[in-house]
């Protein structure tokens, strides 16, 4: 019995399984296991007092109920969505415009486009500190410029006011995200055959018309990928917020990621922290499905 099974396993048809096996095992151990473990953790009541206990009390969905009644969690969920949408819109539009601009092939377009990538390459903690200085109330350069230009008369406390702190973080993230959008769209633009534009201009189409009739439709797959990947990158923001405001002032800039970290590792409410992380996971999963569908359509 055993023998025949073994023989069958090595039949040519099944060799494919062997090739997939390493990747599958890797995913199972390093991705599957943590997810399952985290879901179990979120269904238990694990705190300082029960972390090392053999039997951890089962809490059912209580942690999820609790976090949805927690104003800070709701605030961080709203913040995360608001942050993601604002960043995505701004960095996409600016990135797109820059891509079109650098697609004009003027004499220094290539080196300048290369330089534009710098924000993307700087470590995020460095960027965060830099923006923290820019947005400083008394010593920040932004207030200095605005005051010198006579736009404001009193210094604005950008990062220490609950109204403007999120705006500051969005600015920093847009600055980081622009090159990412620009470079992907630039690459997309080069795949559009020049002949199309040539024949369009012969037919008398204007700049605006060619943009909406040729550029946009042909860029659709690229745009979809850029937006969805951008969404995922932006949605799980952590280091930027952690360094710039740490979620403050008065919890006004907490994101799901930073709040989850705070619950788990600063306040030792491990189960609640993992429940927040799972909410983050579910939202990203939904976006992931869209991404796969988009790429599948493209392949077909």
């Amino acid at each position: 019995m055993n023998q025949t099974k073994k023989k069958k396993l090595f039949k040519y048809d099944n060799v494919g399984i062997l090739f997939v096996l390493p990747a599958f095992l890797y995913m199972l151990v390093f991705v599957g296991y943590p997810i399952v473990k985290n879901i179990i953790l979120s269904l238990q009541d694990v705190t300082v007092r029960t972390l090392t206990a053999d039997h951890k009390p089962f809490a059912g969905l209580q942690n999820y109920i609790d976090i949805f009644q927690d104003p800070v969690f709701v605030k961080s969920l709203v913040n995360t969505l608001l942050f993601t949408v604002c960043c995505l819109v701004l960095q996409f539009i600016i990135g797109f415009l820059l891509a079109l601009f650098f697609n004009q092939h003027f004499s220094v377009s290539k080196p300048v486009r290369g330089l534009m990538l710098i924000p993307w390459m700087i470590p995020i903690t460095v960027t965060a500190l830099m923006f923290k200085f820019i947005f400083g109330t008394d010593v920040g350069i932004l207030n200095y410029i605005l005051t010198s230009l006579g736009i404001i008369s009193e210094n604005i406390d950008w990062l220490t006011s609950t109204n403007t702190a999120l705006f500051g973080i969005i600015c920093a993230n847009v600055w980081i995200g622009i090159p990412f959008n620009m470079i992907l769209i630039s690459t997309g633009l080069t795949t559009i055959p020049k002949e199309l534009y040539e024949s369009a201009s012969i037919d008398g189409a204007g700049k605006v018309q060619t943009f909406f009739k040729i550029t946009l439709p042909l860029l659709r797959p690229t745009i979809e990928s850029v937006l969805i990947l951008g969404f995922i990158y932006t949605f799980k923001v952590f280091d930027l917020v952690y360094v710039m405001t740490g979620g403050g002032p008065v919890n006004s800039t907490h994101m799901l990621s930073t709040y989850s970290y705070k619950l788990s590792f600063e306040m030792f409410k491990y189960s609640k922290g993992s429940a927040v992380a799972n909410v983050l996971l579910v939202i990203l999963m939904i976006v992931g499905v869209f991404y796969l569908r988009a790429t599948k359509e493209e392949e077909e």
Binding site: A53, G248, K269
Partner: protein, 436 residues
């Protein structure tokens, strides 16, 4: 068809987690870089004798000595070297135990201990921040040290921080506390004297505030560091740690509000670490600050010409300060015996004196502390202030209490809430945690 759907959902999960892990992976890598083990023998180059001894020892050590590992989070090179020297000397002094120390960044330290506790991968000794001691002791990862160390001569607050329900779960490494630093030149220029009580503090701070200089600064981050700097005000009114909506608690919050509203303190303090506060002080932007003695070596190095002095924190009803510092803890179930032997060595007078002097810390042992700084005015003031310093907690859920308190003073300082309302909200949270 159905299978396809299942597969695609699974793929989506993998994808999103993969992307999530992308950032986690980087952090992990950094951890590894940062936590590179620094064995005692390779750090003390230059000290030829101990170097040789260390090497002899490690070659012998590999033949069957017991291992004792230590986790600590000090990032300052001087601190690391001092600890390494003590370890090297110890390894050279006997052949049964080889001690190794590992640096874990402060930001990761709590996380690593938590993860280690649930995965059973802990060192034998942890040197940790004293307010966290109760939490980890409650987890049950620390060994009972009652009766194994003589802590009778230690500062009460320091011993309190590692005692839960009468059981000793650690030994204080060294202590520090907060004091008031002032810029002598700015004070003289404004014709002010050193404030001794809150009224004088407000007045002096306002007088000192002009042009680009603000009168006072203390770290008010919405985390443990901020709470550490805020508690002295609360305790000075005679209120306890768990009495935020008492008269005293509200009074302390009102002080913070007054300082911010009058402009005598910059609102940016809610975004400044203690290090940032110190930088503002030495660059002359801040005339007075609340900070600890560990800043002194950096201040002397960065601003040797700055004319500063230290005084007790101005009082309301009584002098108060917050006790900081680290404790040694022995991990239960590890190499407890070896860890104890090393701690006996490390807490002996000679080693303590060496460590404290190179750390700029005050010994937790009063008898050593009193003779420690004969000719250092600033440190003498800190040693005096230490008599009024209280420990935070000790309570397993202190981080939650601390969060409520830091939220309260942040709400007040940003003008989100009035002191009374913020105090009431904090009290509600605290009452839910502290049943006593």
């Amino acid at each position: 068809m159905k299978l396809k759907k299942v597969v695609s959902v699974f793929m989506a999960a993998m994808l999103s987690v993969g992307l999530l892990a992308g950032c986690g992976g980087d952090a992990g890598k950094e951890d590894k870089k940062d936590t590179s083990e620094s064995t005692a023998s390779n750090e003390t180059a230059g000290e030829d004798e101990s170097q040789d001894a260390g090497e002899d020892e490690s070659s012998e050590g590999s033949s069957g000595a017991e291992e004792v590992t230590i986790w600590y989070y000090w990032e300052t090179e001087g601190h690391q070297k001092a600890l390494d020297k003590v370890i090297t000397d110890y390894n050279a002094s006997q052949s049964d135990i080889t001690v190794t120390a590992k640096y874990v960044p402060f930001a990761d330290f709590k996380k690593q201990l938590s993860i280690g506790a649930s995965a059973d991968e802990l060192p034998d000794i942890a040197i940790l921040d004293s307010p966290d001691h109760a939490s980890y002791a409650t987890m049950g990862i620390f060994a009972d040290l009652s009766g194994k160390f003589d802590v009778a001569n230690y500062y009460e607050g320091a011993v309190d921080s590692c005692t839960i329900d009468g059981t000793l779960y650690g030994v204080p490494f060294g202590v520090n506390c907060l004091g008031l630093y002032y810029n002598q030149d700015l004070l003289e220029a404004a014709g002010c004297t050193v404030p001794a009580n809150w009224e004088e503090l407000k007045e002096t701070a306002s007088k000192l505030t002009k042009d680009n200089v603000t009168g006072l600064a203390f770290c008010s981050l919405q985390n443990e560091e901020g709470t550490f700097n805020f508690m002295p005000w609360v305790w000075s009114t005679g209120a306890g740690s768990y009495e935020m909506n008492s008269e005293g608690g509200v009074k302390a919050l009102t002080l913070a509000k007054d300082l911010i509203d009058s402009g005598a303190m910059s609102k940016e303090c809610i975004n400044w670490t203690q290090g940032d506060v110190m930088n503002q002080f030495i660059s002359g932007n801040v005339a007075m600050m609340i900070n600890g003695p560990w800043q002194i070596p950096t201040m002397k190095q960065e601003a040797p010409d700055l004319n500063w002095k230290v005084a007790l924190i101005p009082q309301d009803k009584e002098y108060a300060s917050a006790l900081g510092g680290e404790n040694y803890a022995v991990i239960a179930g590890g190499n407890e015996e070896g860890a104890l032997k090393f701690l006996e060595y490390a807490t002996a007078k000679e080693q303590v004196e060496y460590l404290m002097d190179s750390f700029g810390y005050i010994s937790a042992d009063k008898t050593i502390a009193e003779g420690q700084f004969a000719d250092d005015e600033a440190m003498k003031t800190f040693t005096e202030q230490l008599n009024y310093a209280k420990a935070r907690g000790p309570l397993a859920e202190w981080p939650e209490v601390s969060d409520a308190i830091s939220l309260a003073f942040n709400q007040v300082m940003t003008g989100e809430k009035e002191p009374k309302d913020a105090a009431d909200a904090a009290q509600q949270v605290i009452d839910g945690i502290v049943t006593k």
